[in-house]
Amino acid sequence: MNDSMIEAKDFRKTYGNYVAVDSINFDVKQGEIFGLLGPNGAGKTSTLECLEGLRQSNGGTLRVAGIDPAHDSRKLRNVIGVQLQSAGLPESITPVEAIRFFCAYHEVAPRLDLLERLGLREKQDTQFFELSAGQQRRLSLALAVAHNPKVLFLDEPTAGLDVASRAELHDLMQELKANRTTIILATHDMAEAEEMSDRVAILLKGTLVAVGTPLEITATGAGLTKVSVHTQNACLSAHDINLPAVSQHVTKDEYNIYFSSDIGSLLSAIITTIQAQGDTLIDLRVERPSLEDRFLEITNTGVSR
């Protein structure tokens, strides 16, 4: 059984002679959080806008919950929820009015509980232009999920949010995921994408250069693993110590920091050396390349390995 909620086959979007998206293919399963990453101008917004039915593609096929977004926009409206980058609400509307207004057009009961959930209860009668940027984004999110969409598009959802609001948003995303809502997360925040996404896709100049889980993507790069070691007698700082598989070595704040692509050999040698020198290990940290490292590597080289 095909449980894809979003399918893009040879999807292409052009503006005149400019090719914004060039025949990309991907699919997103039901209940999946799918991160869409890429530098500015990579084609993320064009892809999202075509999936949301705001623009028409110039080639290939798109399906959102089985619906062609370009030709069945009425059905699509009740299936998707969209948190736009700019909130896009009239400046005089209040959160309560906005919830009632949009829920009425979706023909569902107004979800005023979301105002409590997203910390907007005290501001429910405040006009939109008087809300802070974070409150405006939270209201936008509330409106995006108020009609229980099957597919939720989040465009930079945590931009401008404080730590607590960000955590609340992530909780809400997990809750929606648990309810089998498919979430497309477009973000420049790599830590967020790595933490929240089941899979990510990296777009570069209109082409899809990497798709996979954050672990898969970080594992396929040429990135070096960082090993930081702190010992009681600083035995590793001695000039005659040579460890294997070290690409780069620096010291900082009593730590010896090694970068290596073969951490098995390196860790084994570190432990052996410390024991041989009669030293005591105080701290040892191993940090694999982050999604951000991998993203920068891909966007700088333009290819996925």
Binding site: E52, G53, L54, R55, S73, R74, R77, N78, I80, V82, L84, S86, A87, G88, L89, P90, E91, S92, I93, E97, R100, F101, F102, A104, Y105, H106, E107, Q127, L143
Partner: protein, 270 residues
Amino acid sequence: MNAFSHHFTFEFRTGIRNKQLLLMNYLFPLGFYLMMGFIMPGINPPFRAAIIPAMVVFSVLSATLLGIPDPLVNARENGIFRSYKINGVPSISILSMPAITTLLHLTIVAVLITVTAPVLFDAPLPVNWLNFVIIVIAIAIASAGTSVLIGVVSPNSRMTVLWSQIIFVPSMMLGGLMLPYSMLPAIAGKFAQLLPATQAMNAFNGLAMGKTADFLPWGSVVILLTGGFLAFGLAVYLFSWDNHNATRRGNPLLAWLVLVPYVIGIFLLS
């Protein structure tokens, strides 16, 4: 409450909450009415007989031409229409709701003017109330339709001001609000017939205020209604969800078709 009533309620409240709309819907027309009522009859005694229709037409022009187009352009530029589209708000609601709620605001103002003018300025009341109401509705539809069309085809706020003033200022000078149509030179009179205000004042004179119309008064009513609905239809046809989206179905120059009923009127009504 259904979607229509929620939308209507919100838009109606916006007409009072929004300082610019409050000014154009209430403060400006009522302030101007009081100023003109106190000053003009002393300078131009026949104006007393025209206070009610002239100031009602002024209120309509102020609330519609100066109040409707700019919020539409701003909403499009700020992505509000995109948000509406995503949430299933149809374009016809987006365009009709500001017009309908503005009609309600200006009805309140028209009632205030009609009720207070006889008391404050000894202005004569309409002799045919039904016709008076019909003409108020006709000019309101004509002016609201034109205003929505201006909001749809204007690429930015500066252009809304330009287009609105191109109609508003000549309406004040040539539309029969300050000077009777009969006092205009012939060529200016022909030009004035392109203005909804001229048609409305002609209809008021001939059908509601017990005076003589300068040209066929029911023809003016027909022109206003035809022009209003034509303008609204063109606005729906030419509507674009956002500035960058090439969803507009026709060239904005098609908006000039709104003048067709008025041009025909010049030849048929004189």
